[in-house]
């Protein structure tokens, strides 16, 4: 169903944020800039009585603060900002506003997200973010009657705004959907040409960085060449294309132990199972080398999910200090196999 085919008026536009409303990825520290003319598009539709909401994979407070900064926060009701699937966000928004799925228009730059939503809610119309300038002219966004009530519609809903916290009832993509993506995950030792991107990953990826440490090009290059270190890089591709290099791991090789000094994943590919795959691979290699595994971790108020993942991967705390620095150890007695829906290649 394309936007021009269905006749029903759109009552609510659900917007993604990164690369849709603004250019850049907020969670990676980008100085995001609003897309030109997008504020006017939102305001025009709002004045016609069209509601706006958000479905974004981001930290709630950071995203809302940024919207506040841009003077846009007031236009959105029932924002769904967390790491769950967008299909679950759409379901929540639909329930909260109490309209039909076919009265919703979902705008997102990623085909993955548009397809994921469509696979669960076939009645939702999905629009590629790149087409935002055409929106005010679309027939379905031009309601026949605009009354004083229409103009006040948003304010009426705003009294009911509920805030969804990141760690609330979590919903993951269905197995069938994941399998249909044909995900291919490649893990290999870093080559020199990977280092620029590796440096960028350590500087930008704050939330999914187990220790919060950053390294520069020269430091990473030294690790890459060193006999006592392994620097691993991961790439992910799915049906829609490549996500590029999205994960990094630095292992220090000691006499009895392999010590995981750094583990990070780009938040763009979070919650698809690849972090666990990387961890399982490291555990398998450590076991093959006849060593035990230790890992550094720094607890923050944002990385509980990562902490839980380490614990569920059978890491146990050996020591910790007052600043949240933890030393984990894993006896390698329990290593998760790779999931059926990801093809893993070790090069």
């Amino acid at each position: 169903m394309t936007v021009t085919e269905s006749k029903k008026e759109v009552k609510c536009v659900v917007w993604d944020l990164d690369y849709t409303i603004w250019d850049g990825t907020l969670a990676e520290g980008d100085n995001v800039q609003l897309k030109p003319g997008i504020k006017e598009v939102i305001q025009t539709l709002d004045s016609r009585g069209v509601l706006h909401s958000i479905s974004s994979k981001n930290n709630y407070d950071d995203a809302m603060n940024k919207l506040k900064e841009f003077g846009l926060e007031e236009y959105f009701i029932y924002p769904e900002i967390h790491w769950n699937t967008k299909s679950s966000s759409l379901a929540a928004i639909q329930k909260n506003i109490n309209i039909g799925m076919d009265a919703i228009l979902f705008v997102d730059d990623q085909p993955f997200e548009r397809e994921e939503v469509k696979s669960v809610h076939p009645d939702v119309t999905c629009l590629d973010a790149v087409e935002y300038k055409t929106m005010p002219d679309l027939p379905r966004l031009n309601p026949r009657f605009i009354t004083d009530d229409s103009k006040r519609r948003r304010k009426m809903y705003q009294d009911d705004i509920k805030r969804k916290i990141e760690e609330e009832a979590f919903e993951g993509p269905s197995e069938e959907f994941l399998a249909s993506l044909n995900m291919k995950f490649v893990i290999h030792e870093a080559k020199e040409e990977d280092l620029k991107r590796a440096e960028e990953l350590t500087v930008r990826t704050n939330q999914l960085n187990a220790t919060g440490k950053t390294y520069d090009y020269d430091e990473l290059n030294a690790f890459r060449i060193s006999d006592t270190h392994k620097l691993l890089v991961c790439e992910l591709t799915d049906r829609y294309g490549s996500y590029g290099k999205i994960g990094l791991a630095l292992i220090e090789i000691k006499e009895e132990y392999w010590h995981l000094r750094l583990l990070l994943m780009s938040c763009r590919v979070m919650a698809r199972g690849v972090g666990t795959v990387l961890m399982s691979h490291i555990m398998q290699e450590t076991k093959k080398a006849g060593k035990k595994l230790q890992a550094d971790f720094k607890k923050t108020d944002r990385n509980r999910m990562m902490y839980v993942s380490y614990k569920f991967a059978n890491f146990k705390e050996v020591s910790s200090d007052d600043e949240g620095h933890i030393l984990f150890e894993n006896d390698l007695s329990m290593i998760q196999p790779f999931p059926p829906y990801i093809e893993v290649k070790i090069l």
Partner: protein
């Protein structure tokens, strides 16, 4: 619905299992049967905290508390006020 039933239902609808038609008993190790990734882990912890009004402390996050329907049930019962 009985506590064990609830836990079983939750796992059945959220865990990606390695073998499609696998049946699992209350004592089977779910970490061996299915793919416990960060998603499932957080979901399970949140479900337990919210539906049963418990706080899962860092020290509670041992696999032995969560690796079967029985163990999860025991864990919840141990945390609920007498």
């Amino acid at each position: 619905m009985e506590l064990k039933e609830k836990i079983r239902k939750f796992i059945e609808s959220n865990l990606v299992v390695f073998e499609d038609e696998a049946e699992f008993s209350d004592s089977d190790n779910i970490f061996e049967m299915g793919f416990v990734n960060s998603l499932f882990a957080m979901k399970l912890v949140n479900y337990i905290e919210e539906d049963f009004g418990i706080v899962v402390e860092n020290d509670d996050l041992e696999i032995s508390n969560f690796n079967s329907v029985n163990r999860i049930t025991e864990f919840i019962e141990s945390k609920q006020p007498a």
